[in-house]
Symmetry: C2
Subunit: 543 residues, 2 copies
């Protein structure tokens, strides 16, 4: 066969839009598998609604409705009471991939890509040929509704059937019809997704109508909007040389010195002087737009050689210990739990993040199996439940690395739930579908510490349970024996066997005080567990 | 806190380029972790070189060189003898994400996205601030070299320092400097990546110079370019309604009937008649550009109700049984192996794919550990080794699902390598980084069958090994006993103990013919294994 030359080959050269790319590779957005695809749709719309309400400081009231419209075909409707979308933005917000208010802000949000909702529109149109329908009212002007699809060749919105309405509730309502999907129960279904969302968003009320018409309400457990995360300036320790160049080249400041103070957090006049004494090859009076790679490199080296106040942790808002506790009580109703909120840490030098972890035991914790129970790991990133791709997630690696025996926990057989929420201005997802946190060492280590900390708190309780269960069975055995013995002694001595039995029973109860007959003993075990836990944690903070 | 309204929120609305997206989320392209990032660079360049040579029908001769240029900083140079890149395309080919010759062709290729090489350029510039340098000669015109970087805001190339050269070898040479990387050995390093590439591309010669200056050559094992995969027309069974609409709306055919024959494979005049008798609501004489969703839906239903000849399998080119065997001999040099090439199958209705699998035992198979050996799984997609994200890969799920005990294989302790290559016109990767095949049931099932088939072939050999080892130890025990016995008998009977011993030894050897004393027995075991294997396979093809 003859060789082919380059000119022939390059006749085929073309450019493609990101919309075309995801149309061909929809599995990368989470649209693979019929059940998972449906969860992905609900996930994208719900995430956007929660973010919008949070940004507008509104307590979210969200209706999710799924109707079956044909074979493997469902209509999904999500309506929120959020701020709504101004009509000039509705097309791009729902049908331009990589457009939105979130991608460029250094701020903790559920969504951070500007891909999700447009991905849903794309998925609707490639499976049913139909646009999605949006109805919105922002509180000013007129409510409106319209149909939206994606022009995939250009990654641009196509808005049709626009109509102004006389009235509509404030917020956004999106309705789309999707095929190649399936409504399923179980651990990876929509209901479980909503249950977990309620768990990590106790301030939200979510009403769900499933395809059979069955309605469920996840009640609001906390009547307070979460603290509003601030958009922050990056910390110098988190900057790469390239980041610094990027900031410098668009800076409005006249000098490198003022640029550093304006663009980044924790940089003071004094700090600049200190940096100048280290990075002696950099002219701090120079225009930042002329900063060279070598100078930026020298500055980044200087950043790493001086002492800094840690990044501003107010940019990261965890759910909060008491709220996690309320939510877990509400939804898992465990016998016992321990919730831990760790202090802010940083990864990649300067990106702040906070890990919260809880371990709960009993009630609806864990998973029921045909043989009893098994533990379950509930993964969250910025309060969003992660249901898929657990194999490539930092939370999975961290929990797998823990030596659970040390905490008397048997993940394989006990009714245990492990809850982990990672909050950050930037979550390094491993894929565009945002179902797993990349396995970065600093994040894995911190999750491990948080989970071990939480496990330590339930350890004594579980030991107590094991102890109680041993004592109870010994107690029961002795009691059976006491019955026989009192009758034998009665007939031997002529005394009343009833009286002998009572004495024996008292004696036995005295020797097995924790046996589970009344319940007080159980309580006792718990208290001891808590005291021990506090002692452990006190020791931790010393270390 | 007061509510914020939508107009305020949407002041932050922006659009972003795909280059900005990957700049922020480089872990999604495989740039996470220092060692993995370096492998990703080599992988992208090498993949492109192999594809280019294959497309031009040239036996690839590729030089890979890695030099350390600073702390966590390396220069990577990949030079091939391929067709080269015409100067008008070099910028876009190396610095526009989603541009190339591959994305839109329905054809088996290693790359299929148009992201890889541009991702390298992006990674070089965000870690070292430097463009990559390309030198190319296509055989016509003048050779040239130039520097290339990405304008991330617009996803456009920036070409500088362009120079025509007097001479340069035909092909492409790319050189980039990357920081935040590390050269490491082991299972996830560059050397292993190249070794596996050689394994799945026996027609390629790869010369590698590592940062210490050490040179290795992976010699060409097969002097023949692989059969050239054809770009094929899609099979009707693989079309979604949306695909059909897309084809119809850009079709140059006058009628739906001729469009079906022109655009898709296996559609004949007779087939159109048959389809028309099923999809009675579709006017086959109508202009395809006016095809509605409902009509397309009706056509797709009709496609699924008639009988078809399977998709054209010549579009999928496996490595080939004998070539896999040669390559494995060359590189793993096993005691025994079994290679299986399955017949073409389809997933998603009509996308053809072929699975090849091999199981090898001994030699350099498996992995040496401190305690002995463990099995290893070598994953490939269109001949490209997949080193990372094994947890989310269809090949991993398939091999994990197999009951290895049935094949006398202990993955945990034996020197076993499992080789799997999936070839297709479209590999459904789970992520943009293309390190794992999405876990689609049809693919997993087929991989399982292929691996089990391959395992069946080594099963008898391994049983034989176990049998031989048992017989050998019994034989040795009896021989020791024979020694003592012959002396005792000698002194009892007065006969020569030497003669008695010889007789006894003959007797023992007769009872344990497979004991490993000479080596012939071993050979025998193998042969029996092979015979049994052939019988098994014969039975398979009957089923």
């Amino acid at each position: 066969m003859a060789e082919t030359n380059a000119d022939e080959i390059f006749r085929e050269f073309k450019e493609h839009s990101i919309a075309e790319f995801f149309k061909k590779n929809r599995q990368m957005l989470g649209y693979s598998g019929m059940s998972r695809s449906l969860v992905t749709v609900v996930h994208e719309y719900l995430t956007n609604s929660l973010d919008a309400c949070e940004e507008a400081n509104i307590l979210p009231d969200i209706d999710v409705r799924i109707d079956m419209t044909g074979e493997s075909k469902y209509r999904v409707t999500v309506a929120d009471n959020g701020p709504g979308i101004p009509k000039g933005y509705i097309g791009k917000a729902l049908a331009t991939i990589l457009a939105g208010t979130k991608f460029h802000r250094y701020m903790q949000q559920r969504g951070q890509q500007g891909i999700g909702a447009s991905g849903c529109t794309l998925f609707a149109q490639i499976t049913t040929g139909k646009p999605v329908r949006a109805t919105s009212y922002t509180g000013t002007g007129k409510p409106y509704s319209c149909s939206i699809s994606v022009d995939t060749t250009r990654n641009k919105p196509v808005v049709t059937d626009f109509a102004e309405l006389d009235s509509a509730p404030r917020g956004l309502r999106v309705e789309g019809e999707f095929a190649e999907v399936k409504y399923e129960g179980g651990d990876h279904g929509v209901y479980e997704y909503l249950r977990r969302t309620a768990l990590s968003n106790p301030h939200a009320q979510i009403r769900f109508t499933d395809p059979s018409g069955q309605e469920s309400v996840f009640l609001r457990a906390v009547d307070k909007t979460p603290a509003r995360p601030k958009a922050i300036k990056p910390h110098p320790l988190g900057l790469t040389v390239n980041d610094l160049i990027d900031f410098a080249h668009v800076s409005q400041s006249r000098r490198i010195s003022s640029m550093l103070i304006d663009a980044f957090s924790r940089v003071s006049q004094d700090k600049v002087k200190e940096l100048a004494s280290v990075a002696t090859d950099v002219d701090f009076g120079k225009n930042p737009r002329a900063l060279t790679w070598a100078e930026a490199e020298s500055l980044v080296k200087a950043f790493r050689s001086v002492k800094w106040i840690a990044p501003d942790a107010t940019s990261v808002i965890p759910i909060g210990e008491s709220q996690v506790e309320t939510a877990i009580k509400n939804i898992l109703n465990p016998e016992f739990m321990n919730v831990v909120e760790r202090r802010p840490k940083v990864f990649r030098g300067g990106v702040p993040f906070i890990v919260e972890a809880a371990v709960s035991y009993g009630g609806n914790s864990g998973k029921k199996t045909s043989e009893g129970y098994e533990g379950s790991v509930l993964r969250f990133a910025n309060r969003v439940p992660l249901l898929f791709d657990s194999g490539s997630c930092a939370i999975t690696s961290a929990t797998r690395d823990i030596d659970w025996k040390r905490y008397n926990i048997d993940i394989e057989t006990q009714p245990v739930s492990i809850f982990v929420n990672v909050s950050s201005v930037y979550i390094p997802y491993s894929g565009v579908g945002k179902e797993a946190i990349a396995q970065e060492d600093e994040i894995i280590d911190e999750i491990k510490l948080a989970v071990m900390d939480a496990a330590r708190g339930v350890q004594r309780y579980i030991s107590g349970k094991i102890h109680v269960s041993h004592e109870t069975s010994k107690y029961r055995m002795m009691m059976r024996y006491a019955n026989q013995l009192s009758m034998d002694l009665g007939s031997l001595t002529g005394e009343k066997s009833e009286a002998i039995k009572k004495d024996l029973e008292k004696l036995i109860a005295k020797y097995y005080p924790r046996a589970k007959v009344g319940g007080a003993a159980d309580q006792d075990g718990t208290q001891e567990g808590q005291a021990q836990e506090e002692a452990d944690r006190a020791q931790d903070s010393v270390n």
